[in-house]
Point group: none
Chain length 227, copies 4
DNA sequence: AATGAATGAGCCTTCATTCAT
DNA sequence: GATGAATGAAGGCTCATTCAT
């Protein structure tokens, strides 16, 4: 009747895996401890025994999903830090998109749910994990826009780029494309094609900002000459 | 003990308003009928009397929020259809952003929750209400990219533009900026500034796509000359 | 919007009819006032307005169904009181069976429900309406069994006869036969055939009792001769 | 505050017993889970924990009552299958009546309620449990009537016999007699006396049918001789 | 260490009845 | 006189958590 357990903490891992799947699929509220335990092949009391509460398990699961994801997809997309900024931007864009569309990755859905239904417990995770990524992108954008850009311009620009990658509709479309349609090359192909597009589009956007800054600069210089 | 009933559908409206607020704030599951009724100043049974069930009320509320939103913010942003496409693009961007950041508008949060936790009931609303908006933007993008662009290019481009407007992080930031910070001009100012940015950035992106298409065109012409 | 009502008490009658149907079909508890009023084309408050309460309507309905039934099916089955007792027994048996299987008759189902789930309110009706019928049959049985039969013998015999007619399984079978099968002669044919059977069977039973009494009588006479 | 749990299925049994009593007394609808649990000394959630739902508990209770009843009262009434058919008929009649009037037996009241207010769930039980009993009686009747009797005659005859035993009025009378009146010998005595009566009455009925068949037979023979 | 029975708070829903028009 | 909105008392069920082994 009992499953042979080689270690005490094997159940813990099973619970984490089961929870990861179900939480990502149904969200916190619609997930029941019973279901998690059943899928994990454990007792109903197992969650409270190993994690203390549903809340704690949730947080733990989130953390786990996030760190797994970061491990699997390095934020630079495999591009060397010596590469030209355009290349590094491509790396970051690809990284986000791959991370997002990795079938084993629940992180994105956790985040979606959190944004829609913040539990508060995860603000902390967001700060610790997401902000560094943002700062990395912000730094790159600053590099591309040059020192003349205001902080707001850099901020907006970073939002523009990341938004294109994080739009849930995008994620869903890609996912569905890969799962429903002729489940073959299209999935991956799509992601790469979209990454190319985002890079091209964003570089165009950045160039437009640079040109506008240039004009302003000239105007200011003119004005300075004739006060 | 009884509230004076001045009209038949007055309670109904109160319930709709209360539900709109609480559903948007907490989501379907975490919202209790009791809370809605209490805020609406009605009896616990009022929801089931007027709407039949929590589900129905939810759908009704969603629908209501959406149509109110469409009414308040015409999708062209008040720009004439005779205006040049760049102006019309500004109109659409502004429309989405205003719609999103309108304090009385819960629609966006409903949508967020639905994407995270689909009830299935709302697929229909999505199709009926969202797709037309997308088609409108797609048509405009096609106009800007010209007939040489592929459907995929147009599609990606439309996603790029809309994503920048619909990013929940943006919405949240703007909202929080308007509500927590010096609750003053910053809110609206922010939206307008961001709209300007998105327009500029996107036009830059589009121009980049056009140029890329031009090069391809030239290459093809060359190839055609020397077979 | 309002149905033209020629009299005040027209609604009352509609309610009674609707209630009769639904109570008989579903029983007291499973019937809702709302359903009754809907079928009667009246307001939800109509029942309480016209009858004071659900209980009262129930009692009223029962009484109504019962008296209607007695009116429609005279307990002697149309057989003259001058006819020989066997004929009169046939009349009574036929009367009960017809009464029971009359499609417009809810009375039997009310009784069934009452026996299973007595409301207490109806004890009175039972005494007033059922007992006279029983006494009538008892008298006839006494006539058939002669003065030598004990009261218990008469009582048992009466039960035997009436039981054969009132068995709900019988009622159900006949009803279903008439409603599902080729909804034609079979229904009535069945009833008549069964009535014939019950008469024959019961007269046989009575004769057996008489013979047994005869033997006892002889024994007693013998015993009396040889004290 | 907590009841010592000596065994796993002890609570289950308590619930079954309590449910059996209350369901039989009040019927499905008028019985509340709370009452059952209270009487069983269990928590309000106990029913749903052990049985899943009120419905399931009801079905389970019914099944339990029925099988208990069959166990306690073998359908042949203790008469050997070698005994003459009249004796076996006495056995069956006695078995039904004893079963019906057994004070610990709720089965009959369940059945009454079901016939009046079918839940549909129990059709199955009826088929599995009741039909075999009927077939047994039918076979015996066929034996008594001989091969010349039509199926309908056998069927009607079986109904006549069983009806006399199953009449709820009989059951009620006997029960009340045993419980209210000089709660003594009358109860059991009554049942035996009534069983005697039913046997005698039914054998008389059967003989009458046989005689009628004999006449028909003679007529047919005559007709065959003079075509 | 781990289980499964048990708990109790809370939720949605139903429904007979009452109230204000 | 009659309506339909409103009420509040339950009832069945779910579920995270606790307890006794």
């Amino acid at each position: 009747m009992k499953i042979p357990r080689e270690g005490a903490a094997k159940t813990r891992q099973s619970l984490l895996v089961a929870a990861s799947e179900i939480f990502a699929e149904k969200g916190y509220r619609d997930t029941t401890i019973a279901e998690i335990c059943e899928r994990a092949g454990a007792n109903v009391a197992a969650v409270n025994y190993h994690f203390g509460s549903k809340q704690t398990l949730y947080a733990e699961t989130w953390r786990h999903a996030f760190s797994e994801s970061t491990k699997a997809h390095p934020p630079d997309g495999g591009v060397s830090s010596d590469a030209p900024p355009e290349e590094r931007l491509r790396g970051q864009i690809t990284a986000i998109l791959q991370r997002l569309t990795d079938k084993n990755n629940r992180e994105f859905w956790f985040m979606q749910r959190e944004m829609a239904n913040p539990t508060g417990l995860l603000e902390e995770v967001l700060r610790e994990e997401i902000h560094p990524l943002h700062r990395r992108t912000t730094a790159l954008v600053r590099e591309l826009l040059g020192p003349l850009a205001t902080d707001r311009e850099v901020n907006f620009c970073e939002i523009s780029i990341v938004s294109q990658c994080m739009n849930p509709a995008v994620a869903r479309k890609i996912r569905e494309a890969g799962s429903t349609a002729q489940d073959g090359p299209l999935g991956i192909d799509d992601v790469e094609a979209y990454a190319d597009h985002v890079l091209k589009f964003s570089l165009g956007g950045i160039r437009a900002l640079l040109e506008a800054m240039g004009k302003k600069q000239k105007v200011r210089k003119k004005l300075r000459k004739q006060p």
